[in-house]
Amino acid sequence: MLDELNKIKDSATLELQGISDLKALDDWRVAYMGRKGKLTQVLRGLSDLPIDQRKAVGSAANDIKTLLEAELKGRQQAVKDAKLAGGLDAIDVTLPGRPVSLGRLHPTTQMVREICDAFSAMGFEVVEGPEVESDYYNFEALNIPKDHPARDMWDTIWINRDQTIPTLLRTHTSPMQVRVMEQRQPPVRVVVPGRCYRYEATDATHESVFFQIEGLAVDKGITFADLKGSLFEFAKRLFGAERKVRFRCDYFPFVEPGVDMSIDCFVCGGKGCRLCSNTGWIEILGAGMVHPNVLKGVGYDPEVYTGFAFGLGVERILMLKHGIDDIRHFYANDLRFLKQF
């Protein structure tokens, strides 16, 4: 029995020396130490031996097994080493890689997200509203009665003017101020991105269709100082901490006091150039404290609640940030333009 074991050991060792690939090594392992391997069968046959031989044969078989396993390991390592020593063929690493197709979000979508994210971080909720609006929500509920001269600020595209509910394409996202407040009680903090429409001939700086983002915060104790703080914070996040921000008085019928916010011109740094019409400042949004008439209209008591609102044009900000000279690019959707963002 022991002889047989030694024969197995010798042939196994001899065979092993001749093997030089990993697959064959595995076959060798199965042939000797697999479930039906030669060595395994010897070990299985132990129980048939007389008791006095069992121990000696068993321990010899186990020794051989340990030996063969060690040799196998050594041989495997040797084979791997040999393979690596030969080296791999060199390739031209400067050839172009296999292309992976790449899609991009429209720059307007990217900017809407960036702006909404900035306000989300301040606790504002993002909501959307209808683009076809009634005259009531677009104007009257915003303190802009019929035949008011402020209506000239929004050249309007109408769907019908004379029926019981005059309807139009919203000229701003502000109607959602009213819709949101009608639906909930203060505190309110929302931003509203969406398409708006103006009756305006299209040229390099005017589009009849554009995206606006409206913001509204109403609660007890919200002040003009909060408006300033929130919008300054936003401007720094979007345009960089080194930008100067300026508030000046402006008029929108649905806010009082009204504000126009500008940042210092990043082309000329405030000295005056074409981009900023020589003023050194670039307007980026309109804002103000929500007008008491608007609050009253939705059933909020203006003696108790105050709030601020703001609205900004998305394409305008994109144009400023990227030095885009023609607003028509955004709707032209030329892929050579879109792929740059």
């Binding site: 172009p96 296999r98 899609g103 683009e131 309807t167 269709v209 009082e256 006091p257 879109l338």
Partner: protein, 793 residues
């Protein structure tokens, strides 16, 4: 509103440079768009006095003028035959920069010899100074022009171009801007001194005014000036009108314009002798006609307010005068109207006729009735002074709309509530007082504020707070961050869903586009989209309707881009707008995408290949897989897509969209030359409710699976999805992959083979061959029974 700084200086001491004034006005709400200097380039140009004129020895048409410049005399050649001895003229020395009449460019004046005579200077026309296009002769200055004074000092000016917001009717006037200037620079403004003699008869003997419709006319004031001489207005007045952007016409018209610019209140001058009996009635129009001074006969309707004589309308109230009573060169008596009309009515009338005049623009912004009388007296004064008229005694003043304004209570609490800071009461009083508000201290913490008549925009405490903040400066208010609690956010599944879908599609290599939601009728009609909602004032016919489908938008963008993109992969998520009775339209979110042309570009490792149906489907499968939704595709028909290459997209037995190859005939109609084009469309609102949130996770299998490959012979028209469904529904099957589809010579005709790799797996044990065989045999039997599928060895 263009405001001459010289004019401002009549009423307020302008103590800061024009640029600084422009800045302060801008910051406080009156945005100055431009600061234009008149005369900034007039170096070496001065007032001269013509002493002598001698004939030129060598040229009949030229003369030699000797000009006194104040301690210095110059002789120059002069070509203008109208120059007279003793005229005050504009003299340019050598070195002056003058505008060249031939090319409009500035050119430095050099010494010249004209027909042998040296000439070191020039007598100028308006064009050479750049103040008008007119080359008709040289400028003759008033006789009192100081000899030798630089012209820039004598008639230079700075003009501020101010964009006045619609609430500030008062700032559409020089006096209004002077008042702002005073408040912003710590000065006090003064009003014009209005004094004149009323040497004529009592006006009531010659003029009577009756207001029939007091709801549209709150006040009507009139004065009468006889014996006026029509002629040009004085040169200083003309200069100010030009600086303000108005054209001088004649003394009477110029005075009404001048005073309107000064006070902000429009006036109208009638030829008194053309008003029978001097009777004026203010009434709603009957159905009548009126020829306005622009020589257009207009049909006026009963909702419009007119000024009428005995029998007919003679002016559109607040909008435009009529021809019949217009002031002409022969006019000798003027009836001057200064009235206050309902702002909405003026606006409607002017819009109806598309006549937005300087007058209507002021009326529609809301003027105080109080303003009318002050303005009328100022204009009457100027007519008496400048047109040689005799004013009748008294003024007709019919004032049915007199209304008292109550003072506004302004408390410290309110100021702090809005601005977030405390402002001392005396500081508030000071700011308000400089703007003309009257303040009474009611208590330590409350003011009663009287609003001056010209501030029709102020009626609430917040309006006063804005006044205080804007004059003090918005930069004086600190910045704080919102400190109140953050409201409970509601969930907006559609918004999140849209963003998720966008991100997945971008991850699949698709480019997002955003197109116009307004399209032309034909764009929609070509694919038989539902009837759209139209606009009543579209910008163009190709933007006249709200889209009811996104497909035309996407197809148009393929056509636009295919010239420079061999392959296109684009999508849009946008709204369609569907008619809804008695309600705003139904705005539905739609996803529409397209793959067109080449799938791959030319590249050393790739061969250019065209996209096919399975590219589009692959994107959709990735989308639904990523959304965690099981999706099925079933052959269907769609009018835009090729029959037999179109599938309905089905989730939970509901059709949520469609995918297929674009019908080449339709592609052609949209000028698409890419071939093939695949299109998919998903109704986002239908899909959204079918997306379930993530359920509980399932354990990663601990026991190894057993993989079997099978090949099935089937009739060619059996959809593979049916085979796949049966396999997937078999118990213990954990994964199925179709790895080969074969149709061809080696098979009987009408047959195909589908080869699947199937993994069988149990969660709690390693499966034995016997178990797997049993399960697979059962599955093959079902396949045979339902689909006549035969296992191929």
């Amino acid at each position: 509103m263009k405001v001459s700084v010289n004019w401002l200086k009549d009423y307020v001491d302008v103590s800061v440079p024009a640029d600084e004034l422009a800045h302060r006005l801008t910051m406080s709400g009156n945005e100055v768009e431009a600061v234009d200097s008149v005369g900034a380039s007039w170096d070496n140009v001065l007032v001269g006095h013509v002493l002598t004129l001698e004939p030129h020895p060598d040229a009949d048409r030229l003369r030699l003028a000797t000009v006194e410049l104040g301690g210095e005399q110059m002789t120059v050649v002069c070509g203008d035959p109208n120059v007279k001895v003793d005229d005050k003229i504009v003299f340019a020395r050598v070195g002056a920069k003058l505008i060249d009449g031939h090319n409009g460019k500035a050119r430095e004046l050099k010494p010249a010899k004209i027909r042998g005579i040296a000439s070191s200077g020039m007598i100028c026309s308006e064009m050479e100074l750049g103040i008008s296009e007119s080359h008709d002769g040289i400028i003759v200055l008033p006789a009192d022009a100081p000899i030798g004074m630089p012209l820039a000092d004598y008639m230079g000016d700075t003009v501020l171009d101010i964009t006045v917001t619609p609430n500030r009717a008062d700032c559409l006037s020089v006096l209004g801007v002077a008042r702002e200037t005073a408040a912003l620079t710590g000065k006090t403004m003064s009003m014009p001194t209005v004094e004149y003699s009323e040497l004529g008869d009592d006006i009531n003997k010659s003029v009577s005014v009756q207001i029939d419709d007091a709801d549209l006319c709150y006040r009507y004031c009139a004065s009468l000036i006889k014996d006026v001489k029509i002629g040009p207005s004085p040169e200083w007045m003309q200069r100010r009108l030009i600086a303000s952007g108005m054209r001088p016409i004649s003394n009477i018209v110029d005075i009404t314009n001048y005073v309107m610019l000064e006070y902000g209140q429009p006036l109208h001058a009638f030829d008194y002798n053309k008003l029978p009996g001097g009777k004026i009635t203010v009434r709603r129009a009957k159905d009548e006609k009126l020829t306005t001074i622009d020589d257009v006969e207009r049909k006026i309707t009963s909702d419009m307010l007119v000024i009428a004589d005995d029998s007919k309308a003679i002016a559109l109230a607040g909008v435009m005068g009529g021809q019949s009573s217009e002031v002409s060169d022969n006019t000798t008596s003027i009836l001057l109207e200064c009235a206050n009309f309902n702002r909405e009515n003026v606006r409607r009338t002017s819009q109806a006729f598309k006549m937005r005049s300087e007058a209507s623009l002021r009326f529609e912004k809301g003027l105080s009735p109080e303003l009318a009388l002050y303005t009328l007296r100022r204009a009457t004064q100027l007519i008496v002074e400048l047109a040689g008229g005799v004013a009748a005694k008294g003024i007709v003043d019919v004032y049915p709309g007199r209304a008292d304004r109550l003072p506004i209570s302004l408390t410290d609490v309110k100021v702090k509530q809005v601005l977030g800071i405390d402002i001392a009461q005396d500081e508030m009083v000071m700011v308000l007082a400089t703007l003309g508000f009257g303040c009474k201290v009611k208590s330590k913490s409350e003011l009663l504020v009287e609003v001056p008549y010209w501030r029709t925009d102020v009626s609430l405490p917040v309006d006063l707070i804005e006044e205080i903040a804007r004059i003090t400066g918005y930069d004086q208010i600190p910045t704080t961050l919102l400190s109140s609690e953050i409201p409970q956010n509601e969930l907006h599944p559609m918004l999140t869903f849209k963003d998720r879908v966008r991100d997945i599609l971008v991850g699949c290599g698709m480019q997002e586009i955003i197109t116009y939601s307004l399209v032309g009728w034909q764009d929609l009609a070509k694919i038989g989209a539902p009837d759209p909602i139209g606009l009543i004032n579209p910008l163009s016919t190709d933007q006249q309707y709200l889209r009811t489908s996104l497909r035309p938008s996407v197809m148009m963008k393929i056509a636009d881009n295919e010239k420079h993109e061999p392959g296109l992969s684009i999508f849009e998520i946008g709204r369609t707008y569907l008619k809804r009775d008695q309600n705003l339209p139904d705005e539905r979110e739609i996803l529409c995408g397209s793959l067109a042309g080449q799938r791959t570009q030319r590249q050393w490792q790739l061969r250019p290949e065209h996209v096919d149906f399975y590219d589009a489907k692959g994107v959709l499968e990735t989308l639904f897989d990523s959304l965690g939704v099981r999706v099925n595709f079933e052959a269907c028909d769609d009018a835009t897509l090729v029959s037999g290459r179109t599938a309905a997209i089905i989730v939970d037995k509901q059709v949520v969209g469609v995918v297929g190859q674009l019908d080449p005939h339709i592609a052609e109609q949209y000028d698409i030359s890419s071939d093939p084009v695949y299109l998919f469309e998903i109704k986002m609102d239908k899909l959204l409710p079918l997306i379930r949130s993530m359920g509980e996770y399932s354990r990663i299998a601990r026991f190894p699976g057993s993989t079997r490959d099978i090949s099935l012979l089937l009739d060619i028209d059996v959809p593979s999805s049916k085979v796949q469904d049966i396999i997937e529904d078999t118990k213990l099957v954990s994964e199925v992959a179709l790895f080969d589809v074969y149709t061809g010579d080696k098979l009987p005709s009408g047959k195909k083979t589908l080869a699947y790799s199937i993994v069988y797996q149990a969660p709690d044990r390693t499966l034995t061959d016997k178990e797997v065989n049993k399960v697979q045999d059962g599955m093959l039997k079902r396949l045979q029974k339902t689909l006549a599928a035969v296992l191929r060895q």
